[in-house]
Amino acid sequence: MAQIIIKNLRKDFGNFTAVQSSSFTIEDGEFFMLLGPSGCGKTTTLRMIAGLELPTSGEVFINGEEVSQKRAAQRDIAFVFQMFALYPHLNVRQNISYPLKSQGMPKAEIKSKVAEVAAILGIEDILNKSVGGLSGGDRQRVALGRAIVREPAAFLMDEPLGALDAEFREHMSQELRTLHDQMGATTVYVTHDQLEAMKMGDKIVVMNHGSVEQFGIPQEIYDWPASLFVADFIGSPSMNFLKFHGTVSPGDTNVLLGGQLFDVPAQLQGASGNLVFGVRPEHVSLNPNSRFRAKVIATEYLGTTQIVTAETASGVLKARVPANQIVNVGEAVGLDFDPRTITLFDETTGGALLSKANRKVLDHG
């Protein structure tokens, strides 16, 4: 239905820059996640795509047409608000038909459209109810109904599950994803929940302090984070950062950490000074023969796995190991890292150092 291109988009509120020079492309039919902590500019970006906020500079293309200064009504998009924003003085049917009325669609046609949408969402039985008495999930469905009924070029959703309780979020997120797959419409979805973003999105943009930190498919972002921020923000528990002081030269395949040489993917970029050795908890294993020693300070049992927190000479680290492995608090253990998955960061710039392993992911972004 629509491809959305964001070019050098910027938004200033007085002296405060909410979004600085964002650029990314949302392909037709994609389920696209804008992810970041609160205040990172993701909602402002979405509102600029919708036309609820006019950018200070930059361009927004929807289906090849530059719309950044156009009114929201002229952009052929639908918006789902976190608080749903169902018109409280109208009932469910009137809420869903509201966007069609503004187009001047004949009554009979509106009626059949609303019926069609209600059937898709399974809300035929509440069409004549007032929106005040609906449960959170039903409100969400009505809000979706109001968005779907127009068959817009794109759906923009601002934390649509944020107001639901945890149990129901799970269910609605599946419902939403299924709905998207049925309709195939481009969807831009704002969330601060990295799990939700990973689970639902085809692609993710990670934002921080108003700028895009990384842009790509969930797996690439998880495996090969472009910055310390992304590595920390994505994943639970997040990536371990072992700080060390040293020099890395292009071509290096190992680094010295706590007196132990560790293999890393072949480096393509040199750096020196304060560096960070990044490794995901699931790529840490306990190996009694390793000379990299640590003291276990806590264990958390999670069913099939457990999280072991251990103190090393380079800082505290978490390892995800099988639940049946016996680990006792206070015990001294040796640690090993899966060399293929290591990312090195420059602590001063916060950026990841290019290696043969992450080159493919980071070069285009």
């Binding site: 919708a50 036309g51 609820l52 009114r71 929201a72 009504a73 998009i77 639908a78 918006f79 608000f81 608080m83 924003a85 018109y87 409280p88 003085h89 509201y98 966007p99 503004s102 187009q103 109001r146 127009r150």
Partner: protein, 313 residues
């Protein structure tokens, strides 16, 4: 039955609280009931001492209120044809005949036109201004709002003389337009501030949803914001109407003929045919009705208006 749990009050407690409420209501309603009762007394009953609680009700006060009368001699009375209806009969019994309608009806109509006219204008302008203050970036917004509020910091009558002179110059004295403008000017600060509070409470998302659904800013305003502000508009309207309806000082000062409202007219009844208290009371009773009806009509909104914000999630 712990001291902390909310329990159903006992029969005796209900009795006592009921008695208290009724006593309080009687005390506060006493003047009102007295006025209503006086309206149905004969002039002699109305000034009887000790005051009469039980009396023969008569509509004489109402007839006197709405008519002007002339005294006739008993001889003349005999030559006249029999009275056509009950009110002519009442007048004839006092050896009087009806000379024509009094000016009360006209004055009452003036009150209706000026009271409701200024209320409508206050609400119309107030809603638009409040919406702009609530939603748009208005330069020096805070100063403007303070300026609007500051017009309420002195009693309006403090500016009576300048207004009197201005109105005479402009030819606005004793006109509907002049009185409507004056009451609107006084009420506008109240309506802007009250309505801004109500509109601030309406989440922005509703309008944004409407904008995205294809409506213009103005359509979003009247199709989405207005219905939700109805509560606030209703309660603000009641406050505006009560002020404009009851205003006495400016009405005395600025109106005397064409545009005179009921409040300055009612006391003039006293001077006409001696102290005709039943007619004054009748005029007051009728004068109370429109605001009462208006308030009862909007009562549901008013109650919600007062608790607005307190009970909203």
């Amino acid at each position: 039955m712990s001291g902390f749990s909310v329990t159903e009050p006992s029969k005796r407690q209900k009795w006592i609280s009921g008695l208290l409420v009724i006593t309080y209501a009687l005390v506060t309603l006493m003047p009102l009931l007295w006025i209503i009762a006086t309206g149905f007394k004969s002039p002699s009953d109305s000034i009887a001492y000790p005051p009469k609680i039980v009396f023969q009700p008569t509509l004489e006060g109402y007839v006197n209120l709405f008519t002007t009368q002339t005294r006739i001699t008993p001889n003349m009375k005999d030559t006249l044809p029999a009275p056509n209806n009950w009110y002519e009969q009442i007048v004839r019994d006092k050896n009087m005949v009806i000379a024509g309608p009094s000016r009360y009806g006209q004055r009452f109509l003036n009150s209706i036109i000026i009271g409701f006219g200024s209320t409508f204008l206050s609400i119309f302008l107030g809603t638009l201004a409040a919406y702009a203050f609530s939603r748009f970036k208005v330069p020096i917004k805070d100063d403007l709002l303070f300026f609007i509020l500051s017009t309420r910091m002195m009693p309006p009558i403090a500016v009576a003389i300048p207004i009197f002179l201005m109105y005479r110059q402009l030819g606005l004295s004793d006109t509907y337009l002049g009185m409507i403008l004056l009451y609107t000017a006084v009420n506008l600060s109240l309506s802007v501030w009250l309505l801004k509070g109500f509109i601030d409470e309406i989440p922005l998302e509703y309008e944004e949803a409407a904008l995205i659904d294809g409506y213009t800013r103005f359509q979003a305003f009247y199709k989405v914001v207005l219905p939700q502000a109805a509560t606030g508009i209703a309660s603000t309207a009641i406050f505006c109407l009560i002020f404009a309806w009851n205003e006495y000082a400016f009405a005395v000062l600025l109106t005397s003929g064409e545009a005179q409202t009921a409040p300055p007219f009612i006391p003039t009844i006293i001077g006409v045919g001696g102290q005709d208290w039943p007619a004054v009371a009748a005029g007051t009773t009728i004068f109370l009705l429109p605001v009462m009806i208006f308030t009862i009509f909007l009562r549901k909104h008013l109650l919600r208006g007062i608790t607005f914000g307190a009970v909203r999630k």
